[in-house]
Structures are given as C-alpha cells and as structure tokens.
C-alpha cells in the first residue's frame, strides 16, 4: 500500500501563530486561554477563550486582499503558507504538480463574523446595504478556495463540515485520496474564526461553556472553552517525499469515521468507539501499538466521561499503558480547526518524544479512569499517536500517525 508522509504543517492558534511557537508553548506548558480581547462586548457567561492574538492580517495579506478575506480564510491561508513552505513545494512553478494536488480545508462556522457584520448593519444600524463581498467572504469553501488561489493548487478541492470533527474529516479524506491514488499530494486541514460576539452568545446559550477554564478529565470541570485558529498539513506519497529529500515530519497511517445516529449533542460510546476501531483497523494497528492519544477532551461532563468509556472499550487493558492528554486545555476548542491544532500537537509529541500535559486538571474524575498526563508533561517514547474528534451531531473522525521512520 502507498505510504503517506506528512511533509509540512502550519498553525494559527491561541498558543502561537507558527509551529515553533506552538511547540514551545506545549513544552513550556504555557496555556493560551484568556479573557476575550478587542470585542465591544463579551457575553457574561464567557470567562476565557482560546483567541488568536497578534495576528497581523494586513501585514500578511495587504489591504486589497483583506477585503475578500473573512478571518476564517486568513487563518487557513497563514497555516497553509507555513505548511507548504515547510514542505518546500511550489505549485505555481510546476502546474502539472498543482493539478495532481488536492486541497481540502474544512470549517465549522465559516464566515460567521462576516455574516454578523452584515446583520448588525441591517438590523441594528438600520443601514440598507451590506459589504459587497459578503458572499465570497462567508461561503464555507472560501478558505479552501483562497488557499488554492494563493498557491496554484488545481486538483480536487472542496470544503467539508462536521462541527468539532471537521479538520479530522478533511485531513483523513486527503490521506485516503493520496493513499488511494486519486491525488499525488494533498493540502488539508481545518479552520474557524469564532471569537466574535454573536458566536460567543450562541455558545453561552447552549449552557456548556466553562465557568472558569478548560479542565479536561478533571472532577471539577464545568465545560468547554471556545477557541479558534487553523491547522493545515501537506500530505504526499512517502516515496515522493524521500525522492525529493523533503523533511518527513511523521507518517499518516490511519483514518476512521462513524456516525452515532443518536443525539444531536450527547455523544455515544458505541458510535465513537466504532470510529476509533475503524482508525486502528485502517492503520493495521492493535490496541497495544498505540502510545499516546490526543483526546477530544472538551472538558464537558458528557464528552470526557464518554470518551473515557470509548478508550476503555476499544483499548481494554492496553488503556493502562496509554498516555492520554487533551491539548484543548492549551488552545481551547477550535471547533472546525480542532483536529488540525491537535494533529500538530500529536506530531510534536512523536517528533520530540514528549506528551504535552492536560492543563488545569485538579483531580482526575473517577468517571475518567485513564492515564491522563498532567503537570509538566511526560518525556517518553512516542511512536504511534491517535487523535480523536467526536462532533456535535454524532459525527466522529479519528486519525493515527506514526513517528517518521524509514
């Protein structure tokens, strides 16, 4: 079977707008959750957010291009620039290569900030017109299209959406396309720009947001923290990467999906377990092969207890030797970007032999009987990592990677 290498990655997040800053934050256990900045008003029920900060969009894109870019596109483009630069690919210089490259960039909220600005003009300010670029800014495929346009990627390209599992679906689909020969390489990931008043009000209304901060698997957790950002990756055939001497960050080895067909918000042990098992099967892994799980770990009561049961159900006794962590405690819940941010963390774990800690855990919830890594993290041999995403709506997507080994 065709092996698939990850040769580039890029990130925009509350803990850094480039990979090395993100990596340093994980090692230094420097979380990025803080009160929202720059909003006219912050909903009372939102104490902290995983907000992208110090992102100089004008310097990156210039004023002319910015007019067409909702923040969710800006984040994806910045992450894609970093990933493609790291992979050392230039699609413009080689149009034939561009045609054999897929681009799949998912999003949960798409251009919600742009829509909101339009509604504020119409319904609050009594204006009669909205931004002329409202449609091309807010449409769900805008980020994907902008990445293809910026880099000259002309193969199969589209956006996917599955709430919190979006990025894993995008990444996994690209992986299967490269492995299956539909494309030679794929630029894949997820993006969301969610720290705006209307969206935060929507999350506040659902009553699942934390009272203080994100405490995955902790007995005293009170909910999730809204985050945002983008994580984008370059996947290509292993042999191509070796032939052109590209740095291989990790190997993509498995992808599993499932639907709960149950509740629109409450997760199912059975449904999520099938996605994890499908991922292991896809990768040819047994339970004992996995060293570390980057958990979905939203820090809601329902998710974490369910996810613990999922891990116990799939891994059995091997779960005792499985280092589990939720990096949402660093960067918040990036929704459509979540799986992207977390795959970066998973790759860092494999590259550096370091499992980042779950921050803010005061006492492990007995309902979550897992080896949750806390404190300053854990230096250990990390060969194989699984990254879980279980979405609202019961759509599950799970990825597996292996440390780069010839």
């Amino acid at each position: 079977m065709t092996r698939v290498a990850i040769t580039g990655m890029g990130v925009v997040s509350a803990i850094g707008n480039d990979i090395e800053t993100f990596r340093r934050a994980l090692h230094d256990t420097t979380g990025g959750l803080a009160p929202a900045q720059g909003l006219d008003e912050v909903p009372k029920g939102i104490t902290v957010v995983g907000q992208v900060r110090d992102f100089d969009a004008e310097a990156r894109f210039g004023r002319d291009r910015l007019a067409l870019l909702d923040p969710f596109s800006q984040f994806a483009m910045a992450a894609a620039d970093e990933a493609i630069g790291m992979a050392g690919l230039d699609f413009r210089a080689d149009p034939a290569m561009g045609q054999r490259t897929a681009c799949i960039i998912g999003t949960g909220g798409a251009g919600i900030a742009t829509l909101q600005e339009g509604f504020v003009r119409l319904y609050r300010d009594g204006k009669h017109r909205v931004n002329p670029f409202t449609v091309p800014r807010y449409m769900g495929n805008a980020a994907c299209s902008q990445v293809t346009m910026a880099h000259g990627i002309t193969g199969p390209s589209f956006a996917v959406t599955s709430a919190c599992a979006t990025a894993n679906h995008a990444i996994g689909l690209g992986f299967h396309m490269v492995r299956g020969g539909v494309a030679d390489r794929a630029v894949v990931g997820g993006t969301d720009a969610l720290v705006n008043f209307g969206n935060l009000k929507a999350w506040e209304a659902l009553r699942v947001v934390s009272r203080d901060t994100c405490r995955p698997f902790s007995k005293d957790r009170t909910g999730m923290v809204v985050g945002e950002g983008a994580g984008v990756f370059v996947l290509e055939r292993w042999d191509d990467a070796v032939a052109r001497g590209a740095p291989i960050l990790a190997e993509m080895i498995g992808f599993g999906m499932s639907a709960d067909a149950g509740d629109i918000t409450f997760p199912s042990v059975e449904g999520a377990s099938r996605a994890v098992q499908a991922c292991l099967d896809d990768a040819g892994l047994t339970a004992a092969d996995v060293d570390h799980i980057n958990a979905h770990g939203t820090a809601t009561t329902a998710n974490d207890a369910t996810e613990a049961k999922v891990i116990r159900a799939v891994f059995g006794d091997a779960a005792d030797r499985l280092a589990v962590s939720s990096t949402k405690s660093f960067h918040g819940h990036g929704l459509g970007a979540a799986g992207g941010l977390e795959l970066v963390a998973a790759i860092v774990a494999a590259q550096d032999g370091f499992v980042p800690p779950t921050l803010n855990l005061t006492e492990l919830d007995p309902e979550c009987p897992l080896d949750v890594v806390t404190g300053t993290g854990r230096a250990m041999d990390v060969r194989t990592v699984v990254s879980n995403s279980f979405a609202f709506g019961g759509l599950n997507a799970v990825l597996a990677i292996r440390r780069a080994e010839g």
Binding site: R207, V208, R221, T301
Partner: protein
C-alpha cells in the same frame, strides 16, 4: 401556589411532555426525566419570561438543580436582585 411557581410549571409543561399533576416544588428533575436539551429550553423560556439570567450550566446541572423548587428559588433570587 405562587404566581411565579405557576408560570414556571406552565413553561415546563410547554417544553416537555409532562403534565401539571407531576409537578411540585419537591419533584426531582432526575425523576421527571427532563433531558438536558429540554432543560436548556426551559431555562431560556424562563429567562425570556422574567427578563433575568439564570446561572445555569449543563455540566453542573445535577449539583445545582435537584428539584423544581431549586429552579423556582433561583429565579426568585434573580428577580429579587433586579428589584
């Protein structure tokens, strides 16, 4: 039964399939089998009705609200705060 109680019970009946005869201050929310999403809708309707904000978090619901009386007391407290 106070006017406040009556209004809250009316909202619960409207948002669930429960009948009035099952509702009392002492009725336990877990016994009534009100789903968490129904509960979110109930709290929203109560907030709209009384123009208040109820400090309700689905993650800590079991600890914060055991009976319908707990909800009524929380609403009464919020209304008192406003006056």
């Amino acid at each position: 039964m106070s006017d406040l109680e009556q209004k809250i019970f009316d909202i619960v009946v409207d948002k669930t399939e429960l009948t009035h005869d099952r509702l009392s201050r002492e009725a336990r929310i877990s016994d009534l089998e009100i789903s968490s999403l129904d509960f979110v809708e109930i709290v929203f309707a109560v907030e709209e009705e009384f123009d208040i904000e109820v400090p309700y978090n689905a993650n800590t619901m079991d600890a914060d609200f055991e009976t319908l009386g707990d909800i009524i007391d929380a609403v009464a407290a919020e209304i008192a705060k406003q006056q």
